[in-house]
Amino acid sequence: MAGLSHTFGPRKALDRVSFAVGPGDFTVLLGQNGAGKTTLFALVTRLYHASGGSIEVFGSDIRRNPQSALSRMGVVFQQPTLDLDLTVEQNLLYHASLHGMPRSRALQRAESELGRVDLLERRRDRVRTLSGGQRRRVEVARALLHEPDLLLLDEPTVGLDMASRQFLINHVRGLCATRQLAALWATHLIDEASDDSRVVVLHRGRILASGPVPEVRAETGAPSLQAAFAALTSQDAIAT
Protein backbone atom coordinates (compact mmCIF):
# COMPACT_ATOMS: atom_id res chain seq x y z
CA MET A 1 0.00 0.00 0.00
CA ALA A 2 1.27 3.43 -0.86
CA GLY A 3 0.39 6.74 0.79
CA LEU A 4 -2.79 5.31 2.25
CA SER A 5 -4.88 7.92 4.06
CA HIS A 6 -8.38 7.86 5.41
CA THR A 7 -10.45 10.36 7.32
CA PHE A 8 -13.72 10.06 9.17
CA GLY A 9 -15.02 13.63 9.16
CA PRO A 10 -12.30 15.75 10.78
CA ARG A 11 -10.54 12.73 12.29
CA LYS A 12 -7.58 11.22 10.45
CA ALA A 13 -7.75 7.46 10.93
CA LEU A 14 -4.80 6.74 8.63
CA ASP A 15 -2.15 9.18 7.48
CA ARG A 16 0.05 8.34 4.46
CA VAL A 17 0.61 4.71 5.40
CA SER A 18 2.98 2.85 3.06
CA PHE A 19 4.40 -0.64 3.43
CA ALA A 20 4.56 -3.95 1.58
CA VAL A 21 4.16 -7.58 2.59
CA GLY A 22 6.10 -9.96 0.37
CA PRO A 23 5.59 -13.69 -0.33
CA GLY A 24 6.71 -15.74 2.69
CA ASP A 25 6.71 -12.70 4.99
CA PHE A 26 5.09 -12.92 8.39
CA THR A 27 4.45 -9.23 9.04
CA VAL A 28 3.09 -8.08 12.38
CA LEU A 29 1.06 -4.88 12.29
CA LEU A 30 1.59 -3.65 15.81
CA GLY A 31 -0.56 -0.95 17.34
CA GLN A 32 -2.65 -0.12 20.35
CA ASN A 33 -6.42 -0.07 20.22
CA GLY A 34 -7.53 2.79 18.00
CA ALA A 35 -4.20 2.94 16.11
CA GLY A 36 -6.01 2.40 12.80
CA LYS A 37 -5.47 -1.33 12.29
CA THR A 38 -9.11 -2.18 11.74
CA THR A 39 -9.59 0.77 9.37
CA LEU A 40 -6.58 -0.43 7.41
CA PHE A 41 -8.10 -3.91 7.17
CA ALA A 42 -11.44 -2.49 6.06
CA LEU A 43 -9.69 -0.60 3.25
CA VAL A 44 -7.58 -3.57 2.13
CA THR A 45 -10.67 -5.80 2.04
CA ARG A 46 -12.60 -3.11 0.12
CA LEU A 47 -15.29 -2.63 2.70
CA TYR A 48 -14.99 1.00 1.70
CA HIS A 49 -12.58 3.12 -0.32
CA ALA A 50 -9.66 5.07 1.13
CA SER A 51 -9.71 8.87 0.99
CA GLY A 52 -6.22 8.80 -0.53
CA GLY A 53 -3.41 6.48 -1.62
CA SER A 54 -3.57 3.06 -3.23
CA ILE A 55 -3.57 -0.64 -2.35
CA GLU A 56 -2.26 -3.34 -4.63
CA VAL A 57 -2.57 -7.08 -4.07
CA PHE A 58 -0.06 -8.94 -6.21
CA GLY A 59 -0.26 -6.29 -8.91
CA SER A 60 -4.06 -5.82 -8.81
CA ASP A 61 -5.33 -2.46 -7.63
CA ILE A 62 -8.14 -2.98 -5.11
CA ARG A 63 -10.23 -0.20 -6.66
CA ARG A 64 -9.67 -0.89 -10.32
CA ASN A 65 -9.53 -4.67 -10.20
CA PRO A 66 -11.22 -5.79 -6.97
CA GLN A 67 -12.15 -9.25 -8.27
CA SER A 68 -8.59 -10.27 -8.89
CA ALA A 69 -7.33 -8.70 -5.65
CA LEU A 70 -10.00 -10.29 -3.45
CA SER A 71 -9.64 -13.73 -5.02
CA ARG A 72 -6.00 -13.87 -3.85
CA MET A 73 -6.78 -12.76 -0.33
CA GLY A 74 -7.91 -14.70 2.75
CA VAL A 75 -9.21 -12.81 5.77
CA VAL A 76 -9.72 -13.59 9.45
CA PHE A 77 -11.71 -10.74 10.97
CA GLN A 78 -11.37 -9.51 14.51
CA GLN A 79 -14.99 -10.36 15.28
CA PRO A 80 -16.13 -13.96 14.89
CA THR A 81 -17.92 -14.40 11.56
CA LEU A 82 -18.87 -18.09 11.58
CA ASP A 83 -22.50 -19.18 11.53
CA LEU A 84 -22.90 -20.79 14.93
CA ASP A 85 -25.92 -22.87 13.92
CA LEU A 86 -24.23 -24.41 10.91
CA THR A 87 -21.66 -27.18 11.05
CA VAL A 88 -17.97 -26.56 10.52
CA GLU A 89 -18.17 -28.13 7.07
CA GLN A 90 -21.27 -26.13 6.07
CA ASN A 91 -19.45 -22.92 7.02
CA LEU A 92 -16.48 -23.89 4.90
CA LEU A 93 -18.59 -24.94 1.93
CA TYR A 94 -20.43 -21.61 2.06
CA HIS A 95 -17.11 -19.78 1.88
CA ALA A 96 -16.00 -22.00 -1.00
CA SER A 97 -19.16 -21.13 -2.92
CA LEU A 98 -18.41 -17.43 -2.41
CA HIS A 99 -15.23 -18.11 -4.39
CA GLY A 100 -17.05 -20.14 -7.03
CA MET A 101 -15.31 -23.41 -6.10
CA PRO A 102 -16.84 -26.71 -7.26
CA ARG A 103 -18.24 -28.78 -4.39
CA SER A 104 -15.88 -31.73 -4.87
CA ARG A 105 -12.86 -29.46 -4.78
CA ALA A 106 -14.29 -27.57 -1.80
CA LEU A 107 -14.74 -30.80 0.18
CA GLN A 108 -11.21 -31.86 -0.62
CA ARG A 109 -9.79 -28.49 0.39
CA ALA A 110 -11.91 -28.40 3.57
CA GLU A 111 -10.59 -31.80 4.58
CA SER A 112 -7.04 -30.72 3.95
CA GLU A 113 -7.26 -27.40 5.84
CA LEU A 114 -9.25 -28.84 8.76
CA GLY A 115 -6.64 -31.59 9.04
CA ARG A 116 -3.92 -28.95 9.33
CA VAL A 117 -5.68 -27.32 12.29
CA ASP A 118 -6.54 -30.68 13.93
CA LEU A 119 -10.27 -30.29 13.54
CA LEU A 120 -11.08 -32.82 10.86
CA GLU A 121 -13.02 -35.04 13.25
CA ARG A 122 -15.22 -32.07 14.27
CA ARG A 123 -16.27 -31.17 10.73
CA ARG A 124 -19.85 -32.35 11.18
CA ASP A 125 -20.31 -30.59 14.54
CA ARG A 126 -22.11 -27.30 14.88
CA VAL A 127 -19.77 -24.37 15.40
CA ARG A 128 -21.69 -23.51 18.57
CA THR A 129 -20.25 -26.63 20.24
CA LEU A 130 -16.61 -25.58 19.60
CA SER A 131 -14.39 -23.66 22.00
CA GLY A 132 -13.17 -20.13 21.20
CA GLY A 133 -9.77 -21.42 20.12
CA GLN A 134 -11.28 -24.09 17.90
CA ARG A 135 -13.57 -21.53 16.24
CA ARG A 136 -10.57 -19.36 15.44
CA ARG A 137 -8.81 -22.34 13.90
CA VAL A 138 -11.88 -22.98 11.74
CA GLU A 139 -11.77 -19.35 10.63
CA VAL A 140 -8.13 -19.70 9.63
CA ALA A 141 -8.94 -22.93 7.74
CA ARG A 142 -11.80 -21.12 6.03
CA ALA A 143 -9.63 -18.17 5.03
CA LEU A 144 -7.15 -20.56 3.41
CA LEU A 145 -9.73 -22.70 1.61
CA HIS A 146 -9.35 -20.98 -1.77
CA GLU A 147 -5.53 -21.05 -1.47
CA PRO A 148 -4.92 -17.31 -1.22
CA ASP A 149 -1.47 -15.79 -1.55
CA LEU A 150 -2.13 -13.16 1.10
CA LEU A 151 -3.62 -13.86 4.52
CA LEU A 152 -4.92 -10.98 6.64
CA LEU A 153 -5.60 -11.57 10.32
CA ASP A 154 -7.08 -8.82 12.48
CA GLU A 155 -6.30 -9.46 16.17
CA PRO A 156 -6.85 -13.20 15.71
CA THR A 157 -5.72 -14.20 19.21
CA VAL A 158 -7.91 -11.87 21.27
CA GLY A 159 -9.64 -13.84 23.99
CA LEU A 160 -7.70 -17.05 23.38
CA ASP A 161 -5.70 -19.01 25.95
CA MET A 162 -1.92 -19.33 25.63
CA ALA A 163 -1.99 -22.76 23.97
CA SER A 164 -4.49 -21.66 21.31
CA ARG A 165 -2.55 -18.46 20.67
CA GLN A 166 0.68 -20.35 20.19
CA PHE A 167 -0.97 -22.90 17.92
CA LEU A 168 -2.33 -20.18 15.64
CA ILE A 169 0.94 -18.25 15.47
CA ASN A 170 2.93 -21.38 14.70
CA HIS A 171 0.41 -22.49 12.11
CA VAL A 172 0.50 -19.22 10.18
CA ARG A 173 4.26 -18.93 10.46
CA GLY A 174 4.56 -22.46 9.13
CA LEU A 175 2.41 -21.56 6.12
CA CYS A 176 4.59 -18.53 5.39
CA ALA A 177 7.68 -20.73 5.44
CA THR A 178 6.31 -23.71 3.50
CA ARG A 179 3.78 -22.16 1.11
CA GLN A 180 5.34 -18.74 0.66
CA LEU A 181 2.14 -17.25 2.03
CA ALA A 182 2.26 -13.51 2.73
CA ALA A 183 0.66 -12.87 6.14
CA LEU A 184 -0.31 -9.58 7.75
CA TRP A 185 -1.03 -10.20 11.42
CA ALA A 186 -2.54 -7.23 13.26
CA THR A 187 -2.17 -7.27 17.03
CA HIS A 188 -1.59 -5.14 20.09
CA LEU A 189 0.30 -7.99 21.78
CA ILE A 190 3.99 -7.22 21.34
CA ASP A 191 5.17 -10.74 22.16
CA GLU A 192 3.49 -12.03 18.98
CA ALA A 193 6.29 -10.43 16.93
CA SER A 194 9.37 -12.64 17.27
CA ASP A 195 12.84 -11.84 15.98
CA ASP A 196 12.33 -13.53 12.62
CA SER A 197 9.23 -11.53 11.74
CA ARG A 198 8.80 -8.14 10.16
CA VAL A 199 6.98 -5.49 12.11
CA VAL A 200 5.05 -2.36 11.19
CA VAL A 201 4.41 -0.06 14.15
CA LEU A 202 1.18 1.87 13.65
CA HIS A 203 0.27 4.64 16.07
CA ARG A 204 -2.58 7.11 15.71
CA GLY A 205 -2.88 6.31 12.04
CA ARG A 206 0.80 6.81 11.22
CA ILE A 207 3.67 4.38 10.74
CA LEU A 208 6.39 5.01 13.31
CA ALA A 209 8.72 2.20 12.22
CA SER A 210 8.78 -0.79 9.92
CA GLY A 211 11.20 -3.58 9.03
CA PRO A 212 12.61 -6.78 10.53
CA VAL A 213 12.24 -6.81 14.34
CA PRO A 214 16.03 -6.66 15.06
CA GLU A 215 16.35 -3.60 12.79
CA VAL A 216 13.50 -1.75 14.51
CA ARG A 217 15.09 -2.54 17.86
CA ALA A 218 18.48 -1.34 16.67
CA GLU A 219 17.07 1.90 15.25
CA THR A 220 15.62 2.84 18.61
CA GLY A 221 18.54 1.42 20.60
CA ALA A 222 16.09 -0.48 22.75
CA PRO A 223 16.88 -3.89 24.26
CA SER A 224 13.50 -5.37 23.37
CA LEU A 225 10.67 -4.73 20.95
CA GLN A 226 8.52 -3.79 23.91
CA ALA A 227 10.98 -1.07 24.90
CA ALA A 228 11.30 0.03 21.27
CA PHE A 229 7.53 0.31 20.98
CA ALA A 230 7.31 2.32 24.19
CA ALA A 231 10.11 4.63 23.01
CA LEU A 232 8.55 5.19 19.59
CA THR A 233 5.07 5.91 20.90
CA SER A 234 6.28 8.21 23.67
CA GLN A 235 8.45 10.16 21.18
CA ASP A 236 5.38 10.52 18.99
CA ALA A 237 3.36 11.78 21.93
CA ILE A 238 6.02 14.43 22.67
CA ALA A 239 6.30 15.42 19.00
CA THR A 240 2.55 15.93 18.71
Binding site: H49, Q67, F77, D85, Q90, Y94, H95, G100, P102
Partner: protein, 268 residues
Protein backbone atom coordinates in the same frame (compact mmCIF):
# COMPACT_ATOMS: atom_id res chain seq x y z
CA UNK B 1 -15.37 -15.65 -13.38
CA UNK B 2 -17.41 -18.15 -15.43
CA UNK B 3 -21.19 -18.64 -15.42
CA UNK B 4 -20.73 -21.89 -13.48
CA UNK B 5 -18.86 -20.00 -10.78
CA UNK B 6 -21.61 -17.40 -10.55
CA UNK B 7 -24.20 -20.17 -10.20
CA UNK B 8 -22.15 -21.90 -7.49
CA UNK B 9 -21.93 -18.65 -5.59
CA UNK B 10 -25.68 -18.07 -5.85
CA UNK B 11 -26.39 -21.69 -4.87
CA UNK B 12 -24.12 -21.42 -1.83
CA UNK B 13 -25.80 -18.22 -0.61
CA UNK B 14 -29.30 -19.69 -1.03
CA UNK B 15 -28.31 -22.96 0.66
CA UNK B 16 -26.87 -21.12 3.64
CA UNK B 17 -30.02 -19.05 4.07
CA UNK B 18 -32.20 -22.18 3.99
CA UNK B 19 -29.95 -24.01 6.46
CA UNK B 20 -30.00 -21.07 8.84
CA UNK B 21 -33.77 -20.85 8.64
CA UNK B 22 -34.26 -24.57 9.29
CA UNK B 23 -31.75 -24.56 12.13
CA UNK B 24 -33.23 -21.56 13.89
CA UNK B 25 -36.46 -23.18 15.05
CA UNK B 26 -37.69 -20.07 16.83
CA UNK B 27 -37.55 -18.06 13.62
CA UNK B 28 -39.20 -20.88 11.71
CA UNK B 29 -42.10 -21.19 14.16
CA UNK B 30 -42.69 -17.46 14.69
CA UNK B 31 -42.74 -16.84 10.94
CA UNK B 32 -45.62 -19.31 10.69
CA UNK B 33 -47.46 -18.51 13.89
CA UNK B 34 -47.76 -14.78 13.13
CA UNK B 35 -50.00 -15.06 10.03
CA UNK B 36 -51.89 -18.01 11.48
CA UNK B 37 -52.82 -15.97 14.57
CA UNK B 38 -54.13 -13.26 12.27
CA UNK B 39 -56.09 -15.79 10.31
CA UNK B 40 -57.49 -17.71 13.26
CA UNK B 41 -58.16 -14.83 15.66
CA UNK B 42 -58.28 -11.51 13.84
CA UNK B 43 -60.16 -12.76 10.78
CA UNK B 44 -62.65 -14.70 12.90
CA UNK B 45 -63.32 -11.63 15.02
CA UNK B 46 -63.77 -9.29 12.07
CA UNK B 47 -65.72 -11.69 9.95
CA UNK B 48 -69.04 -10.37 11.18
CA UNK B 49 -67.98 -6.71 11.09
CA UNK B 50 -66.52 -6.54 7.62
CA UNK B 51 -68.60 -7.74 4.73
CA UNK B 52 -66.75 -8.12 1.45
CA UNK B 53 -68.73 -7.57 -1.72
CA UNK B 54 -67.89 -9.25 -4.98
CA UNK B 55 -64.67 -7.71 -6.27
CA UNK B 56 -62.09 -9.05 -8.71
CA UNK B 57 -60.52 -11.58 -8.75
CA UNK B 58 -63.31 -13.22 -6.74
CA UNK B 59 -66.46 -14.20 -8.61
CA UNK B 60 -68.65 -14.70 -5.57
CA UNK B 61 -69.13 -13.51 -2.01
CA UNK B 62 -66.20 -14.63 0.10
CA UNK B 63 -65.62 -14.99 3.82
CA UNK B 64 -63.23 -12.48 5.36
CA UNK B 65 -60.58 -15.18 5.94
CA UNK B 66 -60.38 -15.74 2.20
CA UNK B 67 -59.97 -12.02 1.60
CA UNK B 68 -57.06 -11.53 3.98
CA UNK B 69 -55.13 -14.72 3.15
CA UNK B 70 -53.15 -13.08 0.27
CA UNK B 71 -52.46 -10.11 2.54
CA UNK B 72 -51.06 -12.43 5.17
CA UNK B 73 -48.89 -14.11 2.52
CA UNK B 74 -47.61 -10.61 1.75
CA UNK B 75 -47.06 -10.00 5.45
CA UNK B 76 -44.86 -13.08 5.67
CA UNK B 77 -42.73 -11.65 2.88
CA UNK B 78 -42.71 -8.18 4.39
CA UNK B 79 -41.42 -9.47 7.73
CA UNK B 80 -39.02 -11.84 6.07
CA UNK B 81 -37.60 -9.13 3.81
CA UNK B 82 -37.01 -6.73 6.67
CA UNK B 83 -35.75 -9.37 9.05
CA UNK B 84 -33.18 -11.03 6.82
CA UNK B 85 -31.65 -7.76 5.67
CA UNK B 86 -31.71 -6.00 8.99
CA UNK B 87 -30.57 -8.86 11.17
CA UNK B 88 -27.60 -9.16 8.88
CA UNK B 89 -26.50 -5.57 9.05
CA UNK B 90 -27.59 -4.67 12.53
CA UNK B 91 -25.48 -7.39 13.91
CA UNK B 92 -23.14 -4.63 15.11
CA UNK B 93 -19.97 -6.23 13.92
CA UNK B 94 -21.45 -6.95 10.51
CA UNK B 95 -19.86 -10.38 10.64
CA UNK B 96 -21.87 -12.18 8.00
CA UNK B 97 -21.98 -9.09 5.82
CA UNK B 98 -18.20 -8.78 5.85
CA UNK B 99 -17.76 -12.42 4.90
CA UNK B 100 -20.05 -11.83 1.95
CA UNK B 101 -18.39 -8.59 0.90
CA UNK B 102 -14.89 -10.05 0.62
CA UNK B 103 -16.08 -12.48 -2.02
CA UNK B 104 -14.46 -11.63 -5.35
CA UNK B 105 -17.82 -11.55 -7.14
CA UNK B 106 -19.23 -8.11 -8.02
CA UNK B 107 -21.08 -6.47 -5.17
CA UNK B 108 -24.35 -6.08 -7.12
CA UNK B 109 -24.33 -9.83 -7.71
CA UNK B 110 -23.67 -10.65 -4.06
CA UNK B 111 -26.45 -8.34 -2.88
CA UNK B 112 -28.90 -9.72 -5.45
CA UNK B 113 -28.01 -13.29 -4.47
CA UNK B 114 -28.46 -12.48 -0.81
CA UNK B 115 -31.79 -10.95 -1.67
CA UNK B 116 -32.88 -13.94 -3.71
CA UNK B 117 -31.85 -16.31 -0.91
CA UNK B 118 -34.12 -14.45 1.52
CA UNK B 119 -36.95 -14.59 -1.00
CA UNK B 120 -36.59 -18.35 -1.45
CA UNK B 121 -36.97 -18.74 2.32
CA UNK B 122 -40.03 -16.48 2.36
CA UNK B 123 -41.65 -18.41 -0.51
CA UNK B 124 -41.24 -21.69 1.39
CA UNK B 125 -42.88 -20.01 4.40
CA UNK B 126 -45.80 -18.78 2.28
CA UNK B 127 -46.43 -22.23 0.83
CA UNK B 128 -46.42 -23.80 4.29
CA UNK B 129 -48.87 -21.09 5.38
CA UNK B 130 -51.11 -21.72 2.37
CA UNK B 131 -51.07 -25.44 3.09
CA UNK B 132 -52.26 -24.85 6.66
CA UNK B 133 -54.73 -22.16 5.52
CA UNK B 134 -56.40 -24.76 3.35
CA UNK B 135 -57.96 -26.10 6.55
CA UNK B 136 -59.61 -22.67 7.02
CA UNK B 137 -61.36 -23.22 3.73
CA UNK B 138 -58.97 -21.01 1.85
CA UNK B 139 -58.98 -23.14 -1.24
CA UNK B 140 -57.75 -21.33 -4.33
CA UNK B 141 -57.84 -23.24 -7.64
CA UNK B 142 -54.85 -25.56 -8.21
CA UNK B 143 -53.52 -23.30 -10.96
CA UNK B 144 -53.36 -20.51 -8.39
CA UNK B 145 -50.72 -22.36 -6.41
CA UNK B 146 -48.55 -22.44 -9.53
CA UNK B 147 -49.22 -18.90 -10.72
CA UNK B 148 -48.55 -17.45 -7.30
CA UNK B 149 -44.92 -18.57 -7.45
CA UNK B 150 -43.68 -15.87 -9.90
CA UNK B 151 -45.86 -13.35 -8.06
CA UNK B 152 -44.24 -14.26 -4.74
CA UNK B 153 -40.82 -14.09 -6.34
CA UNK B 154 -41.40 -10.58 -7.63
CA UNK B 155 -43.06 -9.25 -4.48
CA UNK B 156 -40.47 -10.94 -2.25
CA UNK B 157 -37.62 -9.40 -4.23
CA UNK B 158 -39.20 -5.96 -4.00
CA UNK B 159 -39.76 -6.18 -0.23
CA UNK B 160 -36.32 -7.70 0.37
CA UNK B 161 -34.71 -4.94 -1.68
CA UNK B 162 -36.55 -2.40 0.45
CA UNK B 163 -35.09 -4.10 3.53
CA UNK B 164 -31.61 -3.79 2.03
CA UNK B 165 -32.12 -0.12 1.28
CA UNK B 166 -33.31 0.56 4.83
CA UNK B 167 -30.42 -1.37 6.29
CA UNK B 168 -27.94 0.66 4.29
CA UNK B 169 -29.36 4.14 4.82
CA UNK B 170 -31.10 4.43 8.13
CA UNK B 171 -28.58 4.26 10.92
CA UNK B 172 -30.93 5.32 13.68
CA UNK B 173 -33.11 2.27 13.33
CA UNK B 174 -30.87 0.15 15.47
CA UNK B 175 -33.47 -2.41 16.30
CA UNK B 176 -36.30 -4.26 14.76
CA UNK B 177 -38.92 -2.46 16.87
CA UNK B 178 -38.14 0.79 15.06
CA UNK B 179 -38.64 -0.86 11.70
CA UNK B 180 -41.88 -2.42 12.95
CA UNK B 181 -43.30 0.95 13.94
CA UNK B 182 -42.13 3.05 11.05
CA UNK B 183 -42.09 0.64 8.13
CA UNK B 184 -43.88 -2.66 8.61
CA UNK B 185 -47.02 -1.44 10.39
CA UNK B 186 -47.67 1.62 8.18
CA UNK B 187 -47.04 -0.42 5.03
CA UNK B 188 -49.24 -3.27 6.21
CA UNK B 189 -52.18 -1.22 7.50
CA UNK B 190 -52.16 1.34 4.68
CA UNK B 191 -52.62 -1.35 2.08
CA UNK B 192 -55.30 -3.63 0.68
CA UNK B 193 -54.12 -6.52 2.86
CA UNK B 194 -56.85 -6.24 5.48
CA UNK B 195 -59.64 -4.35 3.71
CA UNK B 196 -60.56 -3.66 0.10
CA UNK B 197 -59.57 -0.20 -1.04
CA UNK B 198 -63.11 0.80 -2.04
CA UNK B 199 -63.94 0.63 1.66
CA UNK B 200 -60.98 2.88 2.49
CA UNK B 201 -62.10 5.30 -0.23
CA UNK B 202 -65.50 5.62 1.42
CA UNK B 203 -63.96 6.84 4.65
CA UNK B 204 -60.97 8.87 3.42
CA UNK B 205 -59.88 9.77 -0.08
CA UNK B 206 -56.42 10.82 1.11
CA UNK B 207 -55.85 7.49 2.79
CA UNK B 208 -57.10 5.76 -0.34
CA UNK B 209 -54.41 7.43 -2.42
CA UNK B 210 -51.76 6.67 0.19
CA UNK B 211 -52.81 3.02 -0.04
CA UNK B 212 -52.69 3.18 -3.82
CA UNK B 213 -49.14 4.53 -3.77
CA UNK B 214 -47.99 1.94 -1.24
CA UNK B 215 -45.90 -0.71 -3.03
CA UNK B 216 -47.13 -3.28 -0.51
CA UNK B 217 -50.71 -2.83 -1.78
CA UNK B 218 -49.55 -3.85 -5.23
CA UNK B 219 -47.55 -6.78 -3.87
CA UNK B 220 -50.69 -8.04 -2.12
CA UNK B 221 -52.88 -7.53 -5.20
CA UNK B 222 -50.33 -9.27 -7.38
CA UNK B 223 -50.41 -12.26 -5.01
CA UNK B 224 -54.22 -12.16 -4.67
CA UNK B 225 -54.87 -12.21 -8.43
CA UNK B 226 -52.20 -14.85 -9.08
CA UNK B 227 -53.65 -17.07 -6.38
CA UNK B 228 -56.96 -17.04 -8.23
CA UNK B 229 -55.41 -17.70 -11.63
CA UNK B 230 -55.26 -14.13 -12.91
CA UNK B 231 -52.45 -11.71 -13.68
CA UNK B 232 -52.77 -8.15 -12.39
CA UNK B 233 -50.56 -6.33 -14.87
CA UNK B 234 -50.74 -2.94 -13.18
CA UNK B 235 -49.61 -4.38 -9.84
CA UNK B 236 -46.92 -6.44 -11.54
CA UNK B 237 -45.56 -3.32 -13.25
CA UNK B 238 -45.66 -1.26 -10.05
CA UNK B 239 -43.91 -3.98 -8.04
CA UNK B 240 -41.27 -4.43 -10.75
CA UNK B 241 -40.72 -0.67 -10.90
CA UNK B 242 -40.24 -0.39 -7.14
CA UNK B 243 -37.93 -3.41 -7.24
CA UNK B 244 -35.64 -1.65 -9.71
CA UNK B 245 -35.64 1.56 -7.68
CA UNK B 246 -34.92 -0.22 -4.38
CA UNK B 247 -32.25 -2.42 -5.93
CA UNK B 248 -30.47 0.55 -7.45
CA UNK B 249 -30.62 2.36 -4.11
CA UNK B 250 -29.29 -0.70 -2.24
CA UNK B 251 -26.33 -1.09 -4.60
CA UNK B 252 -25.61 2.62 -4.17
CA UNK B 253 -25.85 2.25 -0.39
CA UNK B 254 -23.35 -0.59 -0.38
CA UNK B 255 -20.92 1.03 -2.81
CA UNK B 256 -17.50 1.13 -1.12
CA UNK B 257 -16.91 4.70 -2.26
CA UNK B 258 -20.24 6.29 -1.47
CA UNK B 259 -22.48 4.28 0.72
CA UNK B 260 -23.15 3.77 4.35
CA UNK B 261 -20.34 1.37 5.21
CA UNK B 262 -17.79 4.16 5.23
CA UNK B 263 -20.06 6.58 7.05
CA UNK B 264 -21.00 3.93 9.55
CA UNK B 265 -17.38 3.07 10.31
CA UNK B 266 -16.67 6.74 10.86
CA UNK B 267 -19.42 6.99 13.42
CA UNK B 268 -18.05 4.14 15.52
Amino acid sequence: MSTAQYLRCLGGIVRRELLRWVNQRGRFVSALVRPLVWLAVFAAGFRAVLGVSIIPPYDTYIPYEVYIAPGLAGMIQLFSGMQSSLSMVYDREMGSMRTLMISPFPRWFLLSSKLLAGVVVSIVQVYVFLAIAWFWEIEPPPVGYVLVLPALLLSGLMLGALGLVLSSFIRQLENFAGVMNFVIFPMFFASSALYPLWRVKESSLTLYWICQCNPFTHAVELIRFALYGEVNLVSAAVVAGFLLIFLEAAVWGYDPGRGFLARRAGAE
